[in-house]
């Protein structure tokens, strides 16, 4: 083999090899010294949230304004692809995949547990278990899962989609920096950005899968006479791994799309069922009131670090979430970019901001409203149990409504499929990121990343290093916030160039 070909091949595998080595090293540390890793990441996480948590809040607000400017400003009509290109997926297919990748499993996990947790443990200036606490609980659940996470994802996915589909560059995060650093994107700086993205994605998805597996186990134990132990959790992970590897082999069009479409339909059906079986008017009252409060307080809450009262609560919830969404953004951003070819920026931004957020609001109103109704109106003390074991909170609520077994079974299916779609899309994105942005990455890389993220989740669930891993993913949010802020600058510069020198030239 000629030397130059060897060099090219080595460069091509550089991000893959280095990322793999770093991930394996940290997983090994998590296995060998989980307590020390937990203490170290806990300390680092605390310092970051305490010292620069305000930065996350400001950055997320900047991303929201940026997204709206992109949709409403002079670049809204630009297409993420050639000028005459049509969208690759239908609206429903696109929304389904957006939702499955961006929220999915987390929403089922926290749909009941988060409102109940805020209701039981609000900031110190609100009386726990009061009507005020209930209002606060649903309002902040809306806020944490509302349009901000999507604005964060939009910055990432819009940049990647623009530079790859409109400018013909590989769909990599480093490609978005060409206007700022030029050919250095092909050097250590570009590699560092892509490796950081792989790092955040692997650890983020591994923790999400670990938590998802725990919830499926909890659900299985609630429905079937099965012990919710480590063996069951490992079996769940093994089964789901086989399923998502199959889905991954089948490809994006048949695999993730079909599963996501089916899952969103099931999710909507489950919501509708809960709305009918639960306190319908109460839920709709919660939805309407909270939407109003959400809109009225959007700007205030977007920038509210609460330095004078409730600061610790804000740190442990809002700032944690914002860091989590940012650390999650390379994965979701790359995935959403890869399914958004052919859409205009305006429809992309409004579609990605409004539709998933509305679905999420309705989800929280239905499940949060139903669980708060139990607490406030029927005197069922469910909040303690929900906070004590977040993974079974949803199943606990079902026990007080008709059709418990059916609802639990549907939820288990939903969880399983969301698990599969999340892991499948993460596997695809990781293989793509480590194949120089190849949209059809080699099968062996998909298998490598798929097995690695599942085995990481399984092993760290057993050794107790999963939370440490989650904190490491969140720590990656700090450099990524800077990366994303620079990304907005780079994207604006590129679009301005196109408007000034290319579109005007075309018109002439």
């Amino acid at each position: 083999m000629p030397a130059s070909t060897k060099t090219t091949s080595a460069r091509r595998q550089f991000v893959f090899v280095v990322s793999l080595a770093i991930v394996l090293l940290f997983v090994l540390i998590g296995i060998l010294v989980p307590t020390e890793l937990d203490a170290l990441t806990g300390r680092l996480h605390e310092i970051v949230i305490r010292e620069v948590g305000w930065g996350y809040l400001l950055a997320a607000f900047v991303f929201l304004i940026f997204s709206l400017y992109m949709a409403l400003g002079p670049y809204g009509r630009l297409r993420l692809g050639n000028d005459n290109e049509k969208p690759q997926y239908s609206y429903f297919g696109w929304f389904s995949m957006l939702f499955a990748a961006g929220m999915g499993i987390g929403l089922i996990f926290w749909g009941v547990a988060e409102p109940l947790s805020h209701y039981l443990q609000p900031p110190e200036y609100i009386t726990p278990r009061s009507g005020e606490a209930a209002g606060f609980a649903v309002a902040y659940s809306f806020f944490h899962w509302g349009i901000h996470p999507w604005a964060i994802y939009i910055v990432m996915s819009l940049s990647i989609a623009y530079f790859s589909f409109r400018r013909g560059m590989p769909p990599l995060i480093s490609s978005c920096f060409y206007p700022l650093i030029g050919d250095r994107i092909y050097g250590p700086l570009g590699y560092a950005i892509d490796i950081l993205a792989v790092f955040a994605t692997v650890f983020g998805i591994a923790t999400s899968l670990g938590l998802g597996a725990m919830q499926i186990t909890g659900g299985l134990a609630a429905v079937f006479p099965i012990a919710a132990g480590a063996t069951t959790t490992l079996t769940v992970i093994a089964v789901v791994t086989v399923l998502y590897m199959i889905s991954s082999m089948v490809g994006l069009d048949k695999g993730i799309q079909v599963l996501s479409r089916g899952n969103v339909m099931v999710a909507v059906l489950l919501m509708a069922a809960m709305l009918v079986l639960g306190p319908t008017a109460y839920i709709l009252n919660v939805f309407t009131t909270t939407i109003g409060e959400y809109l009225a307080t959007l700007i205030k809450r977007s920038l509210d670090v609460n330095p004078f009262k409730g600061h610790e609560w804000t740190q442990s919830w809002t700032l944690f979430y914002w860091a989590w969404w940012i650390s999650w953004s390379p994965f979701v951003g790359l995935f959403v970019a890869s399914i958004s070819r052919g859409r205009t920026i305006r429809e992309f931004v409004f579609g990605a901001l409004a539709v998933p957020a509305l679905l999420t609001f309705f989800w929280f109103a239905v499940f949060g409203g139903a669980s708060l109704h139990l607490e406030l109106e029927r005197g069922v003390a469910i909040a303690e149990r929900a906070v004590a074991d977040v993974s079974t909170a949803l199943f606990d609520v079902y026990a007080y409504y008709p059709g418990t077994a059916l609802l639990s079974a549907i939820t288990l299916v939903l969880l399983g499929v969301f698990f599969v779609t999340s892991a499948d899309s993460a596997t695809y994105v990781l293989a793509m990121m480590t194949s120089q942005g190849n949209l059809t990455p080699p099968i062996w890389k998909r298998i490598t990343w798929g097995l690695l993220q599942s085995s990481t989740a399984a092993v760290l669930l057993l050794t107790g290093g999963l939370e440490a891993l989650q904190r490491m993913a969140i720590l990656a949010a700090l450099p990524f916030t800077v990366v994303m802020l620079l990304m907005t600058r780079s994207l604006l510069r590129a679009m301005r160039y196109e408007r000034l020198y290319e579109r005007d030239a075309k018109r002439r």
């Binding site: 206007p179 050919d183 679009m495 160039y497």
Partner: protein, 276 residues
Amino acid sequence: MFETVLIPLNLRESPQLVERVAAALAAYGAESIILLHVQSSPQPSRRSAELDRHAEELRQAGYRCRVLQRSGSVAPTVVLTAAEEGCSLIAYPWRYKSWIQRSLVGSVTKDIVRLSDRPVFVYKPARVQSSRTEGDLNGPVVMYATDFRDTDSVVIPYLTARLPDTGSLLLLHAGERAPDPAAEGRRLARVNAALERLATECREPGHTVTTASVVGRPRTAVVRQAQRNRVDVLVIGKADSERALATVLGSTAESIAYNARCSVLIIPRTATPEEL
């Protein structure tokens, strides 16, 4: 030629500095000099003797010179007087101000550049330049930073006819990188072709004309290139921007005029070389 040149003085300048400004202007064909002092108070100035002394020294050095005194806000008065007296150029020595001074009292240099519709020459002594000295053996180096906009048509006559003693002329384009490598290749090809076209227009017997293009924000890249190429006089065009950000931060021309470490000639788009 720049026939009549207005030199505003705050009378803290040394006679040597004033003479060096006059000498620099003479190289570009200045025939008559008006020394202007603007004071804030309408009372007769106690420093008119100093202004006369500067004028007298210039006359003794062989320059046609007269003096004027005005009162009012400095920058607008200078620009107004230049119009009243039919001056073809406003020239003045650059005065350093720290950022605190600039924040508190503003910069007259920047204000005159902003307000003037006539060419402005900001003279910077050789000591603020990197290592080059005036009257270098190879002749002065003039650099024109172009953005290929309509200011070129106004500036080129100055480069070809009004800077006759130019030892070498460097045509520089500083622009932002295109969004992708292919577009960047096309941009570079366009830039090089445009620079070559400009170079052809500027070529005169005895002049060396070279071209260069760099990537970066013009307001910083041009200053850096002027320093790197040891430029004596940096020529820039000025187009009044209506962009909100430029209104707040100041134009590229104002920024370059202040930050460059060599003398800067700013030619506004509204300047009419035919009439000068």
